[in-house]
């Protein structure tokens, strides 16, 4: 039953940069008459020795654009006893492609064949075994940045050498994947708890093989079969659940899940989905906060 008056669920939305998504979540919360507070984390400091926030909020929607900032905001709220969506643990898994793949793979979700190496020579050997073309990705990063498709050993060596020479230790972890022969699109599913709230195809722009909307990819609503929908929901469950963006590809033997996003962007999906995505997200937050 909906709480009323003082008993209503109080929602905090933490963010660093206000994007379309955060504003849409705020507007939907207001339309639902939910007490909502926007928390611009760059304008605040947090007292780690208090639990005062427990009286002010019931649930947090963590929407920071910076992974490390967001991760720690979730940790602060959770320590104060407030439900964070997504949790520190789920965010930590999704922010790291290696950890995501481990979870997906252990739970039997189809994913591309993936190797990891900590040394250039071992990375090249692993790629020989995976075969070419192959994909080299950073373990941390979004929007398709630094994702490289390599056609042969020579190209792979150049990409690996440039990664290994950088100062970011994460770039020295060489995450290598088979290249999936897919149509010129992939699937983005948005999940809230155990519900698929949007499924869209993302088409690659004419000048790029990546489909990220941030790279100019375009969206279209996807009608998926029950088996595919089940895999996408299981993928969300495998990383710990919450509000998630699941990225999958249609390979020769069915769909494979290659990424799960913990601060999912939905501007592109909103233009084609029949569901009100931000409303569904707020409703989910209210539902789990009441449990």
């Amino acid at each position: 039953m909906e709480k009323t008056g003082e008993n209503r669920v109080k929602l905090a939305i933490a963010y660093d940069l206000l994007r379309f998504e955060e504003k849409a979540l705020y507007n939907e919360a207001q339309k639902l008459s939910v007490p909502v507070e926007m928390m611009h984390v760059d304008s605040l400091s947090f007292d780690l020795n208090t639990s005062d926030y427990i009286d002010r909020y019931d649930v947090l929607l963590q929407r920071c654009i910076s992974h490390s900032r967001g991760l720690h905001v979730s940790a602060i709220f959770e320590a104060m006893g407030i439900l964070a969506i997504n949790s520190y643990e789920v965010s930590a898994i999704c922010d790291d492609k290696l950890l995501t793949t481990l979870r997906l793979s252990r739970k039997g979700i189809p994913t591309p064949k993936t190797r990891v190496a900590f040394n250039q020579e071992q990375a090249l050997k692993a790629l020989d075994e995976l075969g070419y073309p192959a994909v080299i990705k950073p373990i941390v990063g979004s929007w398709g940045r630094l994702v490289a498709r390599v056609r042969d050993r020579e190209e792979a060596a150049a990409v690996i050498e440039s990664r290994a020479s950088g100062s970011n230790p994460n770039d020295h972890i060489l995450y290598l994947q088979e290249y999936i022969k897919r149509p010129q699109r992939d699937i983005r599913a948005i999940v809230a708890g155990d519900e698929l709230i949007a499924t869209v195809y993302r088409y690659q722009p004419p000048n790029d093989w990546r489909t990220n909307v941030a790279r100019g990819g375009t969206s279209e609503e996807a009608k998926l079969g029950d088996a595919e929908r089940e895999i996408l929901l299981k993928a969300a469950e495998a990383v710990g659940g919450g509000i998630l963006g699941i990225d999958a590809m249609e390979g020769p033997s069915g769909i494979v899940v290659h990424e799960v996003n913990s601060t999912v962007e939905f501007r592109g999906a909103s233009t084609v989905s029949t569901n009100n995505i931000p409303r569904k997200m707020v409703e989910y937050a209210l539902r789990v906060a009441k449990r």
């Binding site: 611009h40 992974h67 922010d95 979004s142 929007w143 601060t263 999912v264």
Partner: protein, 57 residues
């Protein structure tokens, strides 16, 4: 509310319903600014950050 662009001296408009963390840009040169609103409601603009290494979904 109107601010002066640090880069070109042009006009930067901040809407009435602006929230802290929102991006605005200069009409003349396109420079981007992040709106910062303190506890007293004072509005300041700071040059928008470049895309950070750990930014994303």
């Amino acid at each position: 509310m109107e601010f002066e662009c640090e880069q070109c001296g042009g006009q930067v408009q901040v809407p009435k319903d602006a929230l802290s963390g929102e991006l605005v840009s200069c009409k003349d040169c396109g420079s981007e600014y992040e709106i910062m609103i303190d506890e007293n409601g004072t509005i300041e603009l700071k040059a928008a950050e470049e895309v950070g290494e750990d930014w994303g979904e």
